[in-house]
Symmetry: C2
């Protein structure tokens, strides 16, 4: 009973301290969630890349669908990099995520901005528009991985 | 620039040749993708559940954000249950997914429909509207899990 009470207290404290979008019962859940969001985003991003790089035929409807998913997912992982989730499970996040928080925030906001541009570009419905936006979006992925993700 | 190009090339190499929404280089990728999409969906669904069940204070803006994500994610996992992905990795999908394809499709479409209703209800901005839509949406999750997911 005491254990349950303590757990509830911890869970409640976490719920009160952070907005609902950042709530995870356990640090492991946060890691699983952020990796999942990044996996889904990367899958749809790579499909846009195949079109942008001429490896798959350009299809305006599919490009728009994929880009909309990328934009939605681009906003999600960052709230799950909270304190205490730095050495959990099979995370590939480097300590720099927490020691350089301003830079990490800037990198994530850059990705969110580029994903929004990519989605807007995909809605134009031309391969040229997609190509123009795809490079900078890929750059924003790489920029963050270079500093904050283990190889 | 060359590094970015190489990064983008690696990111896109996975996505060659098949229809954009159903593409996976390896069966393992499909399993990882569908589990990731379901994890992200479940996380946001559970936040709506906390509000609907009085475990967290109702916040109309957060409810709307969570429900929009649930609707987007509800459409994604199903294309990743293709042939050859039935006994791969740590999948919990039962053989019934492939032996009862019409029933599985119906169950997934039910979830998609309920997630759309849930999103519409969340936009109303009242706890009552959220509660009304949450039950049937949870039922659609359970309905599919009961038949198609290992315990």
């Amino acid at each position: 009973m005491k254990k349950i009470a303590a757990f509830v207290l911890v869970a409640t404290a976490a719920a009160l301290a952070t907005p609902a979008m950042a709530q995870f019962a356990k640090p492991e859940d946060a890691v699983k969630y952020r990796q999942s969001a990044l996996t889904v985003m990367a899958t749809h991003f790579s499909r846009l890349g195949a079109m942008a790089n001429g490896k798959a035929p350009f299809d305006a409807k599919q490009a728009a669908e994929n880009a909309a998913i990328v934009e939605t997912l681009s906003k999600l992982p960052w709230a799950a990099f909270g304190e205490g989730t730095d050495k959990v499970g099979n995370t590939k996040a480097l300590p720099e995520v927490w020691s350089q928080q301003a830079k990490f925030k800037e990198a994530s906001e850059k990705l969110i901005a580029e994903a929004a541009k990519l989605n807007a570009a995909a809605k134009v419905g031309t391969l040229d528009a997609l190509k123009t936006a795809f490079g900078p979006a890929g750059g924003a992925c790489k920029n963050c991985h270079d500093t904050f993700k283990a190889k």
